[in-house]
Symmetry: C2
Subunit: 384 residues, 2 copies
């Protein structure tokens, strides 16, 4: 789901489909506010991309390091295939879509990352199964039973094909995605099945549950009651962009009300502020140790979601909500000293982990969110 | 390793093997201190066992609930096989070893738990593979590729056999343990291999590393540098009791200095106090989100370890260390209102999760530690 949306034209003005008939014009105050946020977001995007360019490239073996300490030092040389694919996608998309990033060295880095994936992602080149983690030199370190590595490789190569105009990348992307789809659809015990996103909207459409039964019923116990606001909100903007591209206004409303605003309300941690990593639909204590931590990516996703919702509906309440989340996020996550964002804060927003990247944080959620916010802000400011 | 040690006569005066020749006598102040701790520990053990008796039994289907909220309410009916086996062991061991727990209802509860395991632990009764988690009615919910479920079943049935005098339980324990050993020893790709504990003492015997290569070398990256003070200290007391039982004084010293005192020093979180869940041997930031949380079980293990070390060596520094850990632990983990211990504190000792039990916390570490501390304190106080 993430792969498909990140690979779509999400957030670009040309691909956003029909909007509702009568959008109210922006008042002067909102316009000023949005312009200020556009400048702040653009500047932050530059800083973040610069961090990854300076610290994550491996000129010796190709590919990217993602395990970077606060100052960018590599603390572990493992190369995670998800992170390789995601970083290629970010570089190629920025090169292709944002004039100030149309720099040869960015395309060259994307291409080098794509070639590293083509050379090393599959432990056995005859089988289209990608590894989860590679050693620095590209030999497989770990293989997982899921289709995410394959999806992120396909995402990377598809975008690289668009950025370079080289059809070989697109063909490789298609081949990998077809294999992943085959596993997902044809083999009930294969590495993965595509989730039917909207089955997760439960309890009279008031709660997005992280796990539901295959026929869309609530599961018993903690697992069934688990809510992950970040996942719901991220799914919300993907659903919204998809709905707008198809002109499906009912689905767009469901995306905003069911997948964004509901989870934002339920998952916002008063009085500390910020989105909880997990919570329980009945208000019980979750069993996830990190449930009350504030992670970078749900906040990044919420920024995109609220701007996409405001672009669609122009409800001033959505803009106020964006401001609330953006103020919280920009005050706490960016590192003013070394650049990029911290990933893991305690419930009270104190720093829990000082790393800038790791097995699950790389060059992806932050630059993708900032890029999409910049595009959405431009779209809104260019409107009525 | 844990199974074997928990199933031994660890901590009982009769089974502790030869002690070093000349133990210095206790001074009056130490004796008073130890007597006060014995009373506190005994009282806490009563409260803890009472909590599980009141809240965890399932009279309808048999077996024990472990997912208990702060006040003992069941928040999830899943029955984890590890937790079933551990609770049977605790009940049967207390019944057999501690006069005030020789109550028919405790033995009856242990027997009912053992029968539930015999009836339900194996999804296919013809194959000696136990499930990881069961539904409330005993049907399998999840099977894992490891030998821990089998080991905890064997532990439970062995102790139940001793407590009841019924040889059928012992035979079932033996059969399950033999199957687990077969998988571990004969099949290189079987569910588990026994770890060679002492290979984990690395870096000139100054650091216990959580993961090492099969030939005892440090692994690269974060994984290789990872330290888990709780595991090291728990392994330390098991190794110490084993060494004392064999009269191996060199191994006993290594257990105390390498596996207890080194990890206690390195893993103690100044100035907050308490043991870190994880840390990095080079002082870098770990990637585990909960690395700086204070979990109940490492503290419980440290109490046992330090008393076992003091019983062996009578070094007053060990007693001071015990006091430090015990003061921290008894101030923060026990719940004065509903009984039992909280499991998960933030770095600053504020409460992170209010649950009393869950998938990884049941009727085990706390009562085992309190029982062993009571036995060790009795042993020390009965000595010179």
């Amino acid at each position: 789901m993430e792969a498909a949306a990140a690979g779509s034209n999400a957030g670009s003005r040309s691909g956003s489909g029909p909007a509702p008939a009568a959008l109210p014009p922006l008042d002067a105050e909102s316009r000023e506010l949005l312009e200020a946020w556009r400048d702040r977001v653009s500047c932050e995007l530059d800083t973040v991309v610069d961090f990854w360019i300076r610290h994550s490239h491996d000129p010796e073996h190709g590919g990217f390091f993602s395990c970077l300490s606060r100052d960018g030092t590599v603390y572990d040389e493992t190369k995670y295939v998800w992170m390789q694919g995601r970083q290629v996608w970010v570089y190629a998309r920025l090169y292709r879509s944002v004039p100030r990033f149309r720099r040869p060295e960015l395309l060259e880095a994307a291409r080098a990352g794509g070639e590293f994936l083509l050379r090393c992602a599959r432990p056995d080149p005859r089988v289209p199964k990608a590894a989860f983690a590679l050693l620095r030199d590209g030999r497989a370190a770990k293989v997982q039973r899921s289709v995410f590595s394959e999806c992120f490789c396909a995402l990377a190569l598809d975008e690289l094909g668009r950025a370079t105009g080289n059809a070989c990348y697109e063909a490789a992307a298609r081949e990998g995605l077809e294999a992943a789809e085959r596993w997902a659809r044809e083999e009930p015990n294969g590495p993965g099945r595509p989730p039917l996103l909207r089955l997760h909207l439960q309890r009279g459409r008031t709660a997005v549950l992280e796990h539901v039964s295959q026929d869309g019923l609530e599961l018993p116990g903690s697992l069934g009651r688990l809510q992950n606001p970040g996942h719901a909100i991220e799914a919300g903007w993907m659903l919204l962009l998809h709905a707008r591209a198809r002109g499906d206004m009912a689905a767009a409303d469901e995306a905003i009300d069911g997948f964004m605003l509901g989870p934002l309300d339920a998952g916002w941690d008063s009085p500390h502020g910020g989105l909880l990593a997990f919570h329980d639909a009945d208000g019980l204590c979750p069993t996830q140790l990190e449930w009350a931590m504030k992670l970078w990516w749900p906040h990044a996703e919420a920024l995109v979601a609220l701007l996409a919702a405001f672009a669609h509906r122009r409800d001033p309440a959505l803009l106020r909500r964006f401001e609330q989340v953006a103020e919280f996020t920009f005050q706490r996550f960016p590192d003013p000293e070394h650049g990029e964002w911290f990933g893991y804060l305690n419930r009270d927003s104190s720093l829990a982990l000082s790393i800038k990247g790791g097995p699950f944080k790389g060059c992806f959620h932050v630059p993708r969110a900032l890029y999409m916010c910049e595009e959405l802000l431009n779209e809104i400011l260019a409107g009525p």
